[in-house]
Structures are given as C-alpha cells and as structure tokens.
Symmetry: C2
Subunit: 191 residues, 2 copies
C-alpha cells in the first residue's frame, strides 16, 4: 500500500483522498493550518489552485525531493477566463517540474471533476484519470494506486502532453461554467 | 434543409456526409478530381488534412466568400507526433480564418473520429460534436444540421477555443495511435 499526502482540503483534495482511501492506502490530508506538519507520503498530491503552488514549493520544496509529486492544476486565467497563465507551448506541470527538479512530477486529476472522482463515473462511463509525465515508474505507481480505488487510468504520454491535458481541463471548466455540461459530467473516456 | 458541400472524400469526409444525409440535407461530395466543379453548398466542410487547406484556399477562396466554412483539421506535426504545426497560442482555424476573411469559419468534427460519426455513439455516449467560432449564427445553423443527423452538439465558445479543441483532437489521436484507446472510442461528452 502506498503512503499518500494530499496538500489541500478543498473539494478536489477531499475527492482524491476518497479515491486513495477506497484503495486501502494511507492518506494524510494537509490543510493550510498544517504548514508545520511533516509530509508522510511517498506520493504527494498538490491539490491546490495553481497560484498557490509557488508558496508550497517555497515552504516544502526540499522535503519533496525524491517523491512523486502530482500536479492537478488547471492554470486558468480567471480574469479573462479565455486563456491559461502558463506559456502556450508549455504547462503548469512543466513550470512546477522546473521549480522541483529533484521531484518526480506527474500530471493527473486535472481532467476529472471532483464529483466524478467521488462517484467513480462520468455519466455511463467509469471515471478515467489521464496521466502525463516523463518518469514512467512514477506514473505506473500512481496509476496503480488510483486503479485500486476503482477508477481507470490512461498514460497519456510524457510531460509534454500536460499541455493537452490542461487544454482539456480548461475546456471542460469553461463548458461547465457556461452550463453546457454539469460539474458531475464532462469528458468520459471510452477505450 | 441545408445545402452542404464537403471537400474531401476520405473517411472523415464520407462520415460527415453520412451524418448530413441522415438529416435529409443535400450533400455534395467533392474529391480531388472535382476541382472544376462549382461549390453548391451554403455550408462547406474542408474535410482534408491541414496541409491541403492552403491549395483549396488558393483554388476556391473567392467562391467561399459569405459561406459557412467548417474546419475539421487537427494540425498534428506528423514528423515528431509531439506537437502541432500552428502557433501554440493559436489554431488551424485561426490561420484559415485569416486566409478566408470573408468566410464564416466554424471549427467542428475534429474531436470525433470517423467511426463515432458513422455509429452515432462513442461507447455508451451519443456522439457530441464540439463547435467553436466567432459567428454565432453560423455555429447555430451548422449545429442544427448536425443535430438533424442524430448527433449532439455543444457550442464550446469563440474562435479562441479552437486551440483547446485542437489540443483535445491531438491528444485523442495520440491515444489511439498509441493503442490506449481505439479509433471507435475516444472522448465522450456527458452533459
């Protein structure tokens, strides 16, 4: 069983914690008041908005060395709601990987709304978590932990594919915000 | 009923023709041998690879003025299979819109594999065609024609959202090419 720390206790942090708990993993859920608590997990999920990642990196960067760090962010420009705040040919994951060169970065959970993680389904489809990253072992370990919680996973490729996962996440958010889909719907993956 | 011309007789052109024919529309399917044939339709679907669009614009650009022109392309860099050949913050649709300033550009059909257009389903989901473009009436007219053929549509937003639709299309192609999903599967949309 994996030891998993989740930084962020919002609806995504809680839903992700639920998936791993269902799989029988040890889950440490860390909120803003837990800045002094040491990280237990070998897998650390940054379940915070993109804008909050920098301060976590500053506070906890050294303790994340060697660990699998999971970036779930959708770096939407919330002023315009019309683009992302990261380079157009890059991704939040690539930016975080630069800031945490000793960590094993994996993009995941940014294309699955919290409601679909909790339910385990997107409409008639089993919820599928798309992963991207350059560390194949890290992706594989994370995928195993997610699968044990009852969800499907697909390895979408290297770190470069985080650009497309973030475009997908952004699109899905704009569709839900525009009431074209619900926050319990979105993109289901049919293998 | 709409009059629809489809330039391109490959698997996408044929599948799109099938959708519109099912809706009772008049469909003109134009292949490479039909360069001298005048375009009948008020809606013109460019069902060709992105690299072939330039020559169509050169040959038929004037006759496309005022018409609804549908861009279905995924401008994948087929040498690297790791990025797109259009600006990272732009899209094929934006490039085509620049080349055809008198036409009413709509992005559509680039996130639906031919098999899912023919079947009308992506696994358990009704196939949903995502549209983007700045001309609301053009999107609405196209959406009506698609819906009459038994598919769902969602207006994903303005021309800027073509970037995200192309990222989604690219991602889906890489997943199918990598045998993570099948060419009859992909992203189903759950409203």
């Amino acid at each position: 069983m994996a030891r998993i720390s989740i930084i962020g206790t919002g609806n995504m942090g809680q839903a992700i914690a639920g998936v791993f708990a269902k799989g029988g993993h040890t889950v440490q859920l860390l909120g803003q008041g837990d800045a002094a608590t040491a990280i237990d997990g070998d897998i650390v999920v940054l379940a915070v908005p993109y804008g909050a990642v920098t301060s976590i990196v500053e506070q906890r960067g050294e303790s994340l060395a060697g660990k699998i760090v999971v970036d779930i962010t959708n770096p939407v420009n919330f002023e315009t709601f019309d683009s992302l705040v990261v380079p157009a040919d890059g991704s939040a994951t690539a930016e975080i990987a630069k800031a945490l060169p000793q960590s094993r970065l994996v993009k995941a959970f940014n294309t699955t709304f919290a409601g679909t993680l909790a339910a385990g389904t997107v409409g008639p489809n089993t919820t599928t978590v798309l992963l991207a990253g350059d560390d194949a072992d890290a992706k594989s370990e994370l995928a195993g932990a997610i699968a044990s919680g009852g969800l499907k996973t697909i390895d979408a490729g290297g770190l470069a594919r985080a650009r497309e996962l973030e475009a997908l996440g952004f699109l899905q958010i704009t569709l839900a915000a525009g009431e074209k889909i619900s926050w319990t719907g979105g993109f289901g993956v049919v293998a």
